[in-house]
Symmetry: C2
Subunit: 204 residues, 2 copies
């Protein structure tokens, strides 16, 4: 498996945003939408070996965790608006979730829960993933030994906050960097997949 | 400079499409929008050394050429809808263009003309670009010597049509491939930039 997590400290956690102004009304949920597309979709198909998490921490009811399972997903289209529409209907179900242990399937392969970072990391370990943080200043991916079942942790347009970064350092997660130019989160996802495709990284 | 051209045989050539259903109403102009974003934008900035062409051949008035000049562009946002809005207003000006020699600046750094493939290739040569075709089955980018001022020619969701491919072969354009998995056009753009960033490919 290949795993990704995007942590967005601004993305809204309700369905109250406009599909006509995603960046302005959703706390940059557009970044999450594009990351989902690049994590899950290839030409005329889905990456069945990929699991994607988005941890949303914006108002009004953080945290919300979206989990998209490539092996199960269907109906995912590459355009940003259609992905945002799926997110919106998933976020509409958050009010029904009373416990962190409950996860609802909002669309096929598209799950929503109230899990916070610690629960996601627990889930990740349970699924046999090997975590690493994608961040400027890390080891260059060209020199980095990609483990089986890699799990890439990425920040949003504002990067990973200090508190999270300290946690990842304490946990000993390695840091990997993708090149000399700072690029968008969703662009990082594309490049990571390409490195794994080229190196034949698959299920462990 | 870094150059890109995306050839879309389906993308509409008028402003008569819906921003609420880009894939369904615009002949997949969404592919062009995402390619523009990935060609021109990085984290908190614009790639000033990049020039992007889109050759649109859909109905009702093909061909239309969009040319975006990184050194001059402003007001370009990463969300698909806002890029599509810029394209729509640019396409609204096509009716004013009576000759292939006329190019209108629809937005800062965002030009529209009725140039066809041959005129774009002439323009490309005049600007000192070295052309290559991005296509499965080409030389792997890892083994490919990237020239100064590279110019990457990409197809849309249906690939490059045979007639164009024969032309590129006749002209002796090399073919380059990005990896073992067929990915989206806009994802190719991201990966190409990353290779250039890593190898320090800049203006010649």
């Amino acid at each position: 498996m290949r795993g990704f997590m995007v942590i967005s400290n601004s993305a809204v956690t309700s369905q109250c945003f406009s599909l006509d102004d995603l960046p302005g009304s959703s706390g940059r949920l557009d970044v999450v939408c594009r990351s989902i597309t690049n994590a899950l979709l290839v030409s005329h198909g889905v990456r069945r070996d990929t699991m994607f998490y988005a941890l949303l921490r914006g108002e009004p009811q953080p945290p919300v965790c979206l989990r998209i399972v490539g092996a199960k997903v269907s109906g995912l289209n590459p355009d940003e608006r259609s992905v945002a529409g799926m997110l919106r209907s998933a976020l509409g179900k958050v009010g029904m979730i009373q416990t962190v242990h409950l996860e609802l399937e909002a669309h096929p392969g598209f799950f929503v829960s109230r899990r916070d970072l610690d629960q996601i990391l627990f889930d990740m370990r349970k699924n046999g993933f090997s975590p690493m943080v994608v961040e400027e200043g890390g080891v260059d991916i060209g020199d980095f030994h990609l483990p089986k079942n890699p799990f890439f942790i990425l920040g949003d347009q504002d990067g990973i906050v200090d508190r999270d970064m300290r946690k990842f350092e304490t946990l000993g997660f390695p840091r990997v960097s993708l090149g000399p130019v700072a690029i968008h989160t969703d662009q990082c996802v594309t490049i990571l997949h390409n490195w794994m495709d080229r190196r034949g990284v698959t299920s462990g």
